[in-house]
């Protein structure tokens, strides 16, 4: 599973990181640190919840994987 993040639109409210700090790393200012996430096997549910939690709707499920 792959996530794409429209990083420029992140406003840094860390709702994604509140779901999982490991999957959704933040930079020092509290903005999302990455533009793409390769979700490790078994973490798909967490990834989906993190994507849904983003109030800006900028975490997009690119590839559902298995």
């Amino acid at each position: 599973m792959k996530l794409r993040i429209d990083k420029a639109k992140c406003v840094g409210n860390a709702r994604c990181a509140a779901v999982s700090e490991e999957l959704f790393p933040l930079d020092e200012d509290g903005y999302i640190a990455v533009e793409q996430i390769d979700v490790p096997a078994g973490k798909e549910g967490l990834a989906r919840r993190g994507a849904r939690a983003c109030p800006e709707r900028i975490i997009i499920i690119e590839d559902e994987g298995q």
Binding site: G12, N13, A14, R15, G30, R52, E56
Partner: protein, 418 residues
């Protein structure tokens, strides 16, 4: 301060506003709104147009639907936050006689990108989740102190005893301001902030009053930095330039305006809900780990701020003609009760699939203090539930409210068996 009795006069409708888009609602004084705000919000959600123009308070647009607000909040050309344009502020300041004190401005709340970003960036660092999590123990200790004072009494007016002093104390601690001057700050919060008086002279006086009581500490921290926000802000740069005293005053004002009245009323709405929803109290007492989710759902159900915007250009929005310079309110309380976005939007449902609300708005101005706000709200709910037995509204003193850019709780009398 219940100005509910008098509606502002209705002004004539401009020609480009169709009759179907007019709905008469006074966001400061509508009697049903002031009596029980979110009940009236629900009524508006069901019966008012999704975007309407009201003739009250000089005439302005009201954006109600989740979709309209979500789009408007991120289209800064269409909906500007510069209620008074920065160019006009600069011209005004240039005309002041030399020696006039710096007039503080609540940056970045009232300025559009790209300049907005310059002023927001240093605050972002200071209010990162990491920085806020470090405050949790202090906040919990403060909450316990306030609650222990009332626990034996069996009743209290919760706003004065807990909801209002807590955020003020957290604010002072975080910024590094002397706790001894608490009463002064509380007096400003109480008397001035919820005052709807829009007279710019009075607004200016309030802002100057806020900076005046912070000035000594700010100057002192420049020389002797400590582990607090004022010291941190001195060390940051704004757009590559070192922070000046004027910048510090601007930050002091924006944090004061944005961080006190808001948290206090958020606590008020949440604790009122808990007092009316005894099964939820029981559920949370048994499962304190659900408090975080409950905090989100309560924020959604009782969204209480109404950020103002100015239409930035002549345009069509949601099928309506809007003209540059007209005012528009992002009526967030309605967006978060929009049934198109949330099924059974009126019920507080911890199992709700979609709890992603816009109580903190969306887009570039999205609340910068939301981590802190969430931590304060969660801790208050946790400690209220831990320190007080089942509590209810006092039937003899029902809660009272005031309305405007913030839906505020004036009084919240609770009772319990002590």
């Amino acid at each position: 301060m219940t100005g509910a009795a008098t509606l502002s006069p209705a002004v004539p409708k401009p020609a480009h506003v169709p009759d179907a888009a007019v709905y008469d609602f006074d966001m400061f004084a509508d009697p049903a709104y002031v009596a029980d705000p979110h009940k009236r919000v629900m009524d508006l959600v069901q019966n008012a147009p999704r975007v309407f123009w009201t003739p009250r308070n000089g005439g302005h647009w009201m954006l109600m639907s989740h979709a309209a607000i979500f789009n408007a909040a991120r289209d800064i050309e269409a909906f500007s936050s510069e209620i008074v344009p920065q160019s006009q502020i600069k011209a005004m300041v240039a005309r002041l006689p030399p020696g006039t004190p710096h007039i503080p401005q609540p940056l970045p709340i009232n300025i559009d990108p790209p300049d907005h970003t310059k002023y927001r960036a240093p605050l972002n660092r200071v209010f990162s989740p990491k920085a806020i999590n470090a405050l949790k123990n202090d906040i919990r200790a403060l909450a316990n102190q306030l609650l222990d004072r009332v626990a034996d009494k069996g009743r209290c007016e919760f706003m004065t005893e807990v909801a209002e002093p807590l955020p003020v104390q957290v604010f002072l601690k975080m910024l590094g301001l002397p706790l001894e001057r608490q009463e002064e700050y509380r007096a400003i919060v109480k008397d001035h902030l919820s005052d709807p008086d829009p007279d710019p002279k009075n607004v200016m006086k309030k802002l100057l009053h806020i900076t005046a009581i912070m000035r000594d500490t700010m100057l002192e921290r420049r020389e002797n930095p400590r582990d607090d926000i004022i010291s941190l802000l001195w060390k940051t740069e704004i757009d590559g330039k070192p922070t000046t005293m004027d910048d510090m005053e601007n930050y002091g004002v924006v944090l004061f305006i944005a961080g006190l009245d808001t948290v206090m009323n958020g606590i008020g709405h949440g604790v009122r809900h808990l007092a009316m929803d005894l099964p939820l109290q029981d559920q949370l007492r048994q499962n304190p780990q659900l408090v975080a989710e409950a905090t989100e759902e309560i924020l959604r159900r009782y969204t209480f701020t109404v950020p103002p915007r100015v239409v930035g250009k002549d345009m069509e929005f949601e099928g309506l003609q809007m003209k540059k310079g007209e005012r528009a309110m992002l009526f967030l309380p309605a967006a978060d009760l929009d049934p198109k976005e949330y099924a059974n939007s009126e019920s507080v449902d911890l199992k709700r699939e979609n709890k992603v609300h816009i109580a903190f708005n969306a887009g570039p101005h999205r609340c910068l203090g939301s981590h802190l706000a969430r931590v304060e709200l969660q801790i208050v709910y946790e400690q209220v539930l831990a320190r007080l037995p089942q509590f209810r509204l006092d039937p003899e003193h029902p809660p009272t409210f005031h309305c405007g850019h913030i839906i505020g709780v004036d009084s919240l009398h609770l009772t319990w068996n002590s």
